[in-house]
Amino acid sequence: MPSLGISATGLDAESRRMEVIADNVANAHSTAGPDGKTYRRKEVVFTSHLENAIGGGNRTLGGVRVSDVIEDPRPLRRDYRPGHPDADSDGFVTMPNVNMVEEMVDMMSASRSYEANLAAVRTAKAMANQALEILK
C-alpha cells in the first residue's frame, strides 16, 4: 500500500517540524548557545521526494522529506538588562528572534497537518478494508 508509505513520510516531516518548533519555544530566552552565540529561530524546509520513489507505487509519487533546517535571518532582539552575565558593555543583552505567537501558530499548523496525514492513512486503510469486503 504505497499511499500509507507516502503518508508516513508526511507524518515524519510534520513531527520533525514539531521538534524544531519545540526547540524554538524552549530556547525563546536563551542568551547563549554552546558556540557562545544567541539562539536564532529555526525553520524546516519541506521538499517533495521524486526519485527513490516508494517501491511498487507510482514512480512520480514519493512523499515529502525535511531537506533542511534553516536559521531565521531576521534581526535579534536587544533588551536592556545591565545585570545579566551576557550583557555587553552598554548593558544590552541580545535575545533570540523567537516570537511566541508565531511559534504557537506554527504549532497549530503542524498539528493540523499531522492530523491531515493521519486522515489520509485512515482513508487508505478503510479502502483496503472495503476491498476485503468483496471476499466476504
Partner: protein, 109 residues
C-alpha cells in the same frame, strides 16, 4: 533519512507479500487446471509465512519503540495496521480455499 528508508522498506515488504500472494492464487488456479498443482497445505503455509514476517516486523518495531530506540509512533502504528490488513486478507483467502476444498470433497464420485 533513516526514517524515510524505514518507510520504504515496510512498503516494499508489503508489496512483495502481495506479489507472492498473487502468484500463489495464480498457482492455485493453474493447479486446478492441470490436476495436482501445489498442495493446499503449501499454499496456506506460504500465506501464513508472509503474514507472519509482517507481524514479526511490526513486533520488532514495537519493541524498539518501547525500548526507546525509536520515537516515531506513527510508523509503528502504520506497520501494525499493515500487518493487520495483511492478516485479514490472508484469512479471507484461507476461508475461500477451505470453502473450495470442502466443496470439492463433498462432490459425489
Amino acid at each position: 533519512m533513516e526514517r524515510y528508508m524505514n518507510a520504504i522498506n515496510f512498503d516494499s515488504a508489503l508489496d512483495a507479500a502481495g506479489k507472492t500472494l498473487r502468484e500463489k492464487v495464480v498457482d492455485l488456479k493453474d493447479g486446478a487446471d492441470q490436476q495436482g498443482g501445489e498442495a493446499f497445505g503449501n499454499i496456506l503455509k506460504g500465506l501464513v509465512d508472509e503474514v507472519d514476517s509482517l507481524q514479526k516486523n511490526a513486533n520488532s518495531s514495537i519493541k524498539d519503540l518501547v525500548a526507546g530506540n525509536r520515537n516515531d509512533i506513527h510508523n509503528v502504528a502504520i506497520k501494525m495496521e499493515e500487518a493487520s490488513v495483511a492478516f485479514d486478507l490472508m484469512m479471507e483467502i484461507r476461508n475461500k480455499l477451505v470453502e473450495a476444498y470442502q466443496e470439492v470433497s463433498r462432490m459425489q464420485a
